[in-house]
């Protein structure tokens, strides 16, 4: 891509970010202020209700609690009924979020050893997962392609155009995939996790695009999960990622095609318009020139043929008004035959490339040497 295109797209992205920023700010800041007020009110209420606690002690406690929660330890509740965040299944889940680059962040390593190991682990794991995803995407594509081929065979019987088939297959792909990978899991999450519909869809989209904020995480709450819940979630993430990769690259392709097509179309349109105007003006000029030359030519020819006729038939040139009906029709025919000639003389001259390309050669369907032959034939007949 040329630098111009790249910088244009870059500015578009920056613009997109700025637009997003303003919209987010407008949507979220009021809520944030409301939350702040609410929590400060809580704090004041707590302090007034329990006058033996002073503000700084409370601050201290809150700081410690917050940093503990960041480390994953929830100080509410007692010690016994808490599951560890680093038991085997949760660690497995965490490893999965690292490798898929989703990175929820509800669990994260806090020891130095954990951080170093995380770096090394991700370095090896991300390409590995990339291979896996490529393979899964491939298989998914083949399965879907076969299904589409069958459907296309059916549709072809209805004599629908190729374009429509492609469009239908795209739509089918998107619809089907959305149903299996977005709608169904959203419903399941809504029931099992107790989220609202919007929250479930939000979680699905944020996870499958690998953004992974971590404000909603499946399997985080201490609910009674079925044994196979987490592995099924992991499997869904794998296949859903492949599907989302396909959809997002399709959107990217559309962007590309649209930008290219628009560029091409605009360029083509401009080129065509320029060409057309050039053709028309060239033709005009040529026509005018040829006509003026031709008229002179015709006049000369007419004059010479008349002279010949008059010399042969003994007609006085000064008395050319008196013609016998036969000679009049003859001269009329002669004049008639010269009607097509103006066009012919046009094509006789070496025209510029544009004119020939537009096929003005074929405007009349007559070839150049036809005129000469006809003229000669007439003159021969006269003799």
């Amino acid at each position: 891509m040329r630098w111009k295109t790249v910088s244009a797209i870059f500015f578009l992205v920056v613009l997109y970010l700025i637009i997003g920023a303003t919209v987010f700010k407008a949507l979220e800041q009021p809520y944030e202020s409301a939350q702040k007020l609410a929590i400060l009110a809580e704090k004041l209420k707590f302090l007034t209700m329990h006058p033996c606690v002073n503000s700084s002690e409370l601050e201290n406690l809150v700081k410690q609690v917050v940093s503990a929660v960041r480390a994953g330890v929830n100080p509410s509740g007692s010690l016994s009924n808490q599951t560890s965040l680093w038991d085997l299944s949760s660690s497995f889940f965490f490893a999965g979020t690292v490798i898929t680059t989703i990175g929820f962040g509800n669990i994260s390593p806090h020891t130095e050893g954990g951080q170093i190991f995380c770096i090394v682990y991700a370095l090896l794991g991300i390409p590995l997962f990339g291979f896996l995803l490529a393979g899964v995407g491939d298989q998914l594509g083949t399965i879907f392609g076969k299904g589409i081929a069958k459907v296309e065979k059916m549709i072809v019987k209805w004599k629908v155009s190729q374009t429509k088939i492609r469009v239908i297959s795209t739509l089918l792909f998107i619809l089907f995939g959305c149903l299996i990978f977005v709608a169904l899991p959203a419903v399941i999450f809504k029931h099992i996790e107790g989220w609202s519909t919007l929250d479930s869809i939000y979680f699905v989209v944020i996870t499958l695009t690998t953004i992974g904020f971590g404000d909603f995480v499946a399997g985080e709450k201490g609910l009674e999960y079925l044994d196979y819940y987490k592995p099924v979630v992991w499997f869904w993430i794998l296949v859903g990622l492949a599907y989302f990769a396909a959809v997002l690259s399709m959107i990217g392709d559309w962007f590309r095609v649209i930008s290219k097509k628009t560029k091409e179309e605009v360029g083509e349109f401009r080129a065509h318009a320029a060409e057309w105007t050039a053709n028309v003006s060239a033709e005009f000029k040529e026509t005018r020139r040829r006509l003026s030359v031709d008229i002179y030519d015709k006049f000369q020819r007419a004059a010479s043929i008349k002279r010949k006729l008059s010399s042969e038939l003994g007609i006085n040139t000064s008395m050319n008004q008196e013609m016998t009906p036969g000679k009049r029709t003859l001269s009329a025919n002669l004049c008639e035959d010269r009607e097509p000639y103006p066009n012919l003389t046009l094509s006789l001259s070496p025209v510029p490339g544009a004119l020939t390309r537009n096929g003005s050669l074929y405007l009349n369907g007559l070839s150049p040497d036809y005129a000469d032959r006809r003229e000669i034939a007439i003159i021969e007949n006269l003799k």
Partner: protein
């Protein structure tokens, strides 16, 4: 038929290996982190006991209070005194958030609270993520020539064979990227951010540039940060350029793997020689572009060593 069977075999092999890898990671993380967690939990219990003993607060009201505080904290709203001035949704922070959304890093230190915000995030991400990937790949394509192809040809002209030349170049590029995008920024972060160590800086750089984005370390979130807006913009620029360099690295690795026959051995799509032809590419005919993932996987090679998503945008 044999190749089909072979590809299925390879796929199951990958899946098995992947599961084993995950299990291994789980074991190691568990054994490293769990003792520390236990200790922290124990400390918190002691803290609670201490607090409750010396004050008139009963356990229930403390619980209630703490739950509210933590819930607010999850959304980035803090109850501490000196953090009440800075908002998480002023223009620069919102832009930072939009950036993390669009590059799929997704720290999660601030998340949309309102329903409208969540709905908007969904659409914004669905449009913005492929858009960003397009930009990144476009930039990388332009950078391929001066940063990869020209040096490799230079190396070749100075006498090296093609294969070692690509390897030497790749190692040099790797060294350069690590120096400029991991070590140097980590040093800067460890100085600017009060509570980060050098290792924390490197950890943050790595987690961000791989777009994992756990969110345990996020710059510019300390209360009382000076020049916060400028700092955030700087981090955004760093993220963008860093992502570009990572893509470049992966692409040159892919080319090198191609040359060494790794990709054909693993039956993965090759890197297409599409750089100079990008502009002269035949325009799609009147039909809409074949969107089937099968065609995508076959014709537009998925870069296996790159991000697991949006590979097929990365043409070659």
């Amino acid at each position: 038929m044999r190749s089909l069977g072979k590809s299925w075999l390879l796929l199951t092999g990958f899946v098995l290996f992947y599961i084993i890898y995950l299990l291994f990671g789980a074991l190691v993380f568990s054994s490293i982190e769990r003792p520390v967690e236990e200790k922290l939990r124990h400390d918190m219990d002691l803290l609670r006991e201490e607090f409750l003993n010396q004050s008139c607060v009963n356990a229930a009201s403390l619980e209630r209070f703490l739950v509210r505080v933590l819930k607010a904290h999850k959304y980035g709203v803090s109850v501490l005194r000196n953090s009440s001035e800075t908002s998480n949704w002023d223009l620069a922070s919102s832009m930072f958030f939009a950036n993390t959304l669009v590059t799929t890093v997704g720290y999660g230190h601030t998340t949309p609270l309102s329903d409208a915000g969540k709905a908007f995030s969904i659409f914004y991400a669905l449009m913005g993520v492929p858009f960003t990937m397009l930009v990144l790949t476009a930039c990388v394509q332009r950078l391929m020539y001066p940063l990869v192809l020209a040096p490799v040809s230079l190396l070749q002209r100075s006498g090296l064979e093609p294969r070692p030349a690509t390897m030497v170049h790749f190692l040099l590029l790797l060294l350069l990227v690590v120096l400029c995008f991991f070590l140097a920024p980590a040093a800067v972060f460890s100085v600017v951010e009060m509570s980060w160590t050098f290792l924390d800086g490197i950890y943050f750089c790595f987690i961000s540039l791989c777009t994992i984005g756990l969110g345990d370390f996020v710059p510019a979130t300390q209360p009382g940060q000076r020049y916060r807006a400028l700092y955030q913009v700087g981090v955004m620029v760093y993220l963008f350029v860093g992502l570009m360099m990572m893509y470049l690295l992966l692409r040159s690795f892919h080319k090198m793997a191609d040359l060494h026959g790794l990709t054909t051995f693993l039956q993965l799509p090759r890197c297409e020689e599409s750089d100079p032809d990008e502009d002269r590419e035949p325009i799609v005919d009147d039909e809409p572009r074949q969107p089937l993932p099968k065609d995508q996987a076959a014709s537009k090679p998925l870069d296996p060593a790159s991000q697991p998503s949006y590979n097929s945008i990365n043409k070659g």
